[in-house]
Amino acid sequence: MLRVENLSFSYGKIQAVRNVSFEVKKGEIMAIIGSNGAGKSSLLKCVAGLLKPQTGKIYMEGEALEASAYKTVEKGVCLIPEGRWIFSNLTVEENLILGGYTSKTVAQGIERSYDMFPRLGERRNQRAGTLSGGEQQMLAIARGLMSNPKVLLLDEPSLGLAPLIVNDIMKIIQDANKAGVSVLLVEQNARKALKIAHHACVLKHGTIVKEGTGTELAQDESILSEYLGNVNKNKKDRLIINA
């Protein structure tokens, strides 16, 4: 459905993404895991049209995507960026309306968002900047879904959230997927991501070093220890990975 072919991107001389190819199939959750600086966010920003890759192509349903963020949204690919990027000067509802800027069913979308996240409904006229971190992440996801995307790109949705809320967020991602949205999930929180992913790959220094199903990779302790920190040595490290 969403196919990335030989994509490379560099910031000046620093190469962030090297010759990466993969495909997100219709209806699946695909996870890209990797440590800090592995090039995950740059890769996602290229897909979303925020960065222009030096080489490589991105195809959505067979059609090549331009490096233009708003056109990418029109093609049904929506990014929920790292750090959420909420319009904190606007109300919760105004954030949702802007999320549905390209949608013809804004009113239904808002209703669906409030069904999904009753907390947002309670705070609809509150300025979004006053929400808690977890609520802001919910708003970011609800806002992303407002455009009725076919593919949702999620960049580190668990970042900075308490473990219990991370579980909620993962559940929401699964629900959205069951409702028919394909998901490309980029995460440092490998265990959580692999648990819900149908298919995953590991990114290291900008290249894909391993691919497999979510369960395969989750059982491959060498991957977890090699690329994501050591899991088996002691409890303290495990906490870091699970956090």
């Binding site: 963020a69 708003y70 949204v73 029109e74 960026p81 000067n89 606007l90 309306i97 800027y101 390209t102």
Partner: protein, 291 residues
């Protein structure tokens, strides 16, 4: 006497506000001061003059013509002057310098094209004075006040109520975030330049009616509008209007009761005081690198 001065001050302040809102709108979206704004004011006045002289002697039609011409000019300035730099994500200071360059160049082109003569509109508002609560007030001041108020209310409603207005408010928080909502930010920037230019054209047309049309009109008046928007808080539309009214009324009262030589001293002193006491302006918020 005092009432008369206040009405006069409000009419001057209203025109300042039309220009100041343009500065603020562009600043709120792009974080730089568009110094090419003044040329759209000058062109507004000249467009009205030539329309009245050559086409049709109706001041309202002339004003409409000026709004259209100045709006288009502002969009051209964005497309030819700024958009290249914006696409390269250049530092804001370069945009500011580009704006100064456009302004100087255009001021001189206007002198070459129209000479530096002062031109009186062949058709104008009624010069009659009317009695309001025992004070004599110029009809022209009342009309200017009303027209400015209506224009500012329309812009405010557009920003607060329309879909594009919401997009502008969102984009003023972050252009990049707006783009991943599916908003064509280049188009949005163009809309903002169109609004700013149209308001500047209206201001120019009204200034030409109140005074005369001459090449330095825009830069003289837009300076005051810039002070207004800094005093009110750059980036805030309400702030721009408040700053403009303070400046307009203050100037008129100073020239009426003290000396007209003190008028500009008052404006610049106010600017200096605000920059010392509250650099972000009366309604402004401080964030990040701006120019």
């Amino acid at each position: 006497m005092f009432f008369q001065q206040v009405i006069n001050g409000l009419s001057v302040g209203g025109i300042y506000a039309l220009m100041a809102v343009g500065y603020s709108l562009i600043y709120s979206l792009l974080n730089f001061t568009n110094f090419a704004h003044s040329i759209t004011v000058t062109i507004g006045a000249f467009a009205t003059f030539y329309f009245l002289a050559e086409v049709f002697q109706n001041i309202y039609a002339g004003i409409l013509f000026a709004i259209v011409v100045a709006g288009i000019l502002a969009m051209l300035i964005q497309i030819l002057g700024y958009s290249v730099l914006l696409k390269k994500n250049a530092q804001r200071i370069y945009l500011l310098i580009t704006g100064l360059g456009i302004s100087t160049m255009c001021d001189n082109l206007v002198i070459i094209a129209f000479t530096s003569r002062f031109r009186v509109y062949p058709a104008n508002f009624s010069t009659k004075a009317i009695n309001v609560f025992g004070a004599t007030v110029g009809t022209i001041d009342l009309i200017i006040l009303a027209v400015s108020a209506v224009a500012l209310i329309i812009v405010q409603l557009f920003i607060k109520k329309s879909r594009a207005g919401l997009a502008i408010r969102g984009a003023s928080f972050s252009l990049e975030t707006a783009s991943i909502m599916g908003i064509n930010t280049q188009k949005l920037i163009l809309i903002v330049f169109l609004i700013a230019g149209a308001l500047a054209g209206l201001a120019g047309a009204l200034l030409g009616a109140k005074y005369t049309a001459y090449p330095a009109l825009g830069s003289n008046m837009a300076n005051k509008a810039f002070i207004s928007s800094v005093v009110g808080g750059l980036g805030s539309i309400t702030g721009a209007v408040i700053g403009a009214l303070i400046l307009g009324i203050g100037e008129v009262l100073i020239s009426g009761y003290v000396s007209s030589a003190m008028r500009d001293i008052f404006s610049y002193t106010l600017l200096v005081i605000i920059l010392f006491v509250k650099p972000s302006g009366l309604m402004g918020v401080d964030t990040g690198e701006r120019a």
